[in-house]
């Protein structure tokens, strides 16, 4: 039985191909650098922009998108609580972004076949952060700035600077899946 627990791996964004190839399902990863937030409506707008051949608000190449809609920042903080939201709501949009160079996504819950296939084909990784650990995760965010779709409020695209942001690899580029593996191991 392969061990699911490993030492934490530190990676920085944008993600190099070498790093992506080295990441395996079940790896505990600490991300540092810039990541971008986007959820439902922002995804729809990004994919519409690609369809209409418009310029995107940020270059997707090598980047990570974090599926989150934070609480408002209190006066003494850079951001409010910011945990992952359910990723499957982004399934119909993610493949188009992966095709454009997106290399990582952070969310919670399983992804659809179309996303898993795109991740394998274009070499991208899906990470999970712990759902409901939003206060803890917010402490790893050092800067936050709205860069697009400000009208969407909490759903706007934010550029976050993160330091040792804790995630775990769910889907690697080799087609492995932590949720399936974990369930199989502990089912009675």
């Amino acid at each position: 039985m392969p061990k699911l627990i490993k030492k934490e791996i530190r990676i920085t964004t944008p993600l190099a191909d070498k790093v992506i190839k080295s990441l395996k399902t079940g790896d505990k990863v600490l991300i540092s650098g810039i990541i971008y937030t986007a959820r439902d409506v922002a995804h729809k707008r990004l994919v519409d922009a690609i369809k209409d051949k418009e310029k995107l608000p940020f270059n997707l190449k090598g980047q990570i998108i974090y599926f989150t809609g934070p609480t408002p920042a209190p006066p003494d903080k850079v951001i409010g609580s910011a945990g992952p939201t359910t990723s499957s709501r982004m399934d119909s949009f993610s493949p188009a972004l992966i095709k454009k160079g997106l290399k990582g996504m952070i969310g919670k819950g399983p992804r659809g076949k179309e996303v898993v296939d795109a991740m394998k084909k274009y070499k991208a990784v899906y990470f999970a952060a712990v759902g409901g650990a939003a206060a803890l995760l917010s402490k790893r965010i050092k800067k936050s700035e709205v860069i697009a779709y400000e009208d969407l409020g909490t759903e706007a695209i934010r550029r976050l600077e993160v330091e040792d942001f804790p995630v775990i690899v769910v889907n690697d580029i080799y087609g492995d899946d932590l949720y399936l593996k974990g369930m199989k191991r502990y089912a009675m």
């Binding site: 809609g69 609480t71 609580s81 359910t86 409901g132 502990y186």
Partner: protein, 280 residues
């Protein structure tokens, strides 16, 4: 007749919203402690510890436990001998939600219409269920209802002859299908009987109980225990990363129903069980 002022209700509700979002109750914290003791997966234990640490950070820094500070849900027991001065109960509650979500820097997650979807900017309206009771108390039970787990909840009208086995397999299948998305370890609210809308309300009501407090009827309490055991055999585990603790508790509430019906509602609740109560 007891008079309660509109503003008193609104102020108390505002405080209750912030308190619920940032301070988890003892029942969920000790349920997580018990889970740490029985979990077999090392990664699962790490997740559970992270959740405890998260609760501590939230409390110390007045940060919401989860960024989804939800739709505000109220079960009100309105004493017949209570008179609200200065306005209507529902307006007072919504005013409290408006103030609390602003003052507490909670996320405003409500859109005005399911189709046009414009954010109302103040997290109103709340969902309010009011029951008229005897006496001169106004009891307000509040719950923050996030969408992650709510979206994975289900309702089914079973055939009466499907019985206990039918109920069990519907609850377990619901967890199997959507459990990972709902932020496990879960608290599972089950409404049995009544009719279509009643069983849904019962499933939600059951989640207002302290976590793990069994149903008063022995046979229902043992059904809760049975279903919990089966759910924890699924292997989903904390955060869905695999493990023995997929659910912390199963709560069932029942109501009489039609000879031809066996309605079942399964309301999944994430581990961030945020509820508060107050009596005025």
């Amino acid at each position: 007749m007891k008079e309660i002022h509109f503003n008193d209700i609104a102020d108390k509700i505002a405080q209750m919203c912030i308190d619920a979002a940032c301070n988890l109750d003892e029942d969920i914290l000790s349920a997580l402690d018990r889970a740490i003791e029985i979990e077999k997966s090392t990664l699962g234990i790490e997740v559970l510890r992270q959740l405890k640490e998260n609760a501590e950070i939230a409390r110390n820094e007045s940060l919401p436990v989860c960024q989804d500070t939800g739709m505000a849900l109220f079960f009100v027991e309105y004493g017949e001998d209570v008179k609200i001065k200065g306005g209507l109960l529902n307006d007072a509650i919504n005013e409290g939600v408006r103030q609390g979500y602003k003052k507490g820097y909670l996320r405003k997650s409500i859109v005005n219409d399911p189709i046009t979807r414009r954010n109302t900017q103040d997290n109103t309206p709340a969902i309010i269920h009011t029951e008229l009771v005897a006496g001169n108390n106004l009891k307000i039970n509040f719950k923050i209802v996030g969408a992650g787990c709510e979206n994975m909840s289900k309702i089914k009208m079973l055939k009466p002859t499907e019985g206990i086995e039918g109920i069990k397999s519907f609850v377990i299948d619901t967890v199997k299908e959507g459990g990972i998305n709902a932020c496990p370890p879960l608290i599972i609210g089950v409404g049995l009987g009544g009719n279509f809308e009643m069983c849904a309300i019962l499933s939600k009501k059951s989640l207002m109980r302290p976590i793990g407090q069994p149903n008063k009827r022995m046979e229902i309490a043992s059904l809760e225990e049975d279903i919990l055991k089966d759910i924890n055999k699924l292997g989903i585990g904390p955060a869905g990363f695999g493990g023995r603790v997929t659910a912390l508790a199963v709560h069932i509430e029942t109501y009489p129903c039609h000879i031809a019906s066996l309605p079942v509602a399964v309301n999944l609740n994430c581990h961030a069980s945020r509820k508060k109560a107050l009596i005025l």
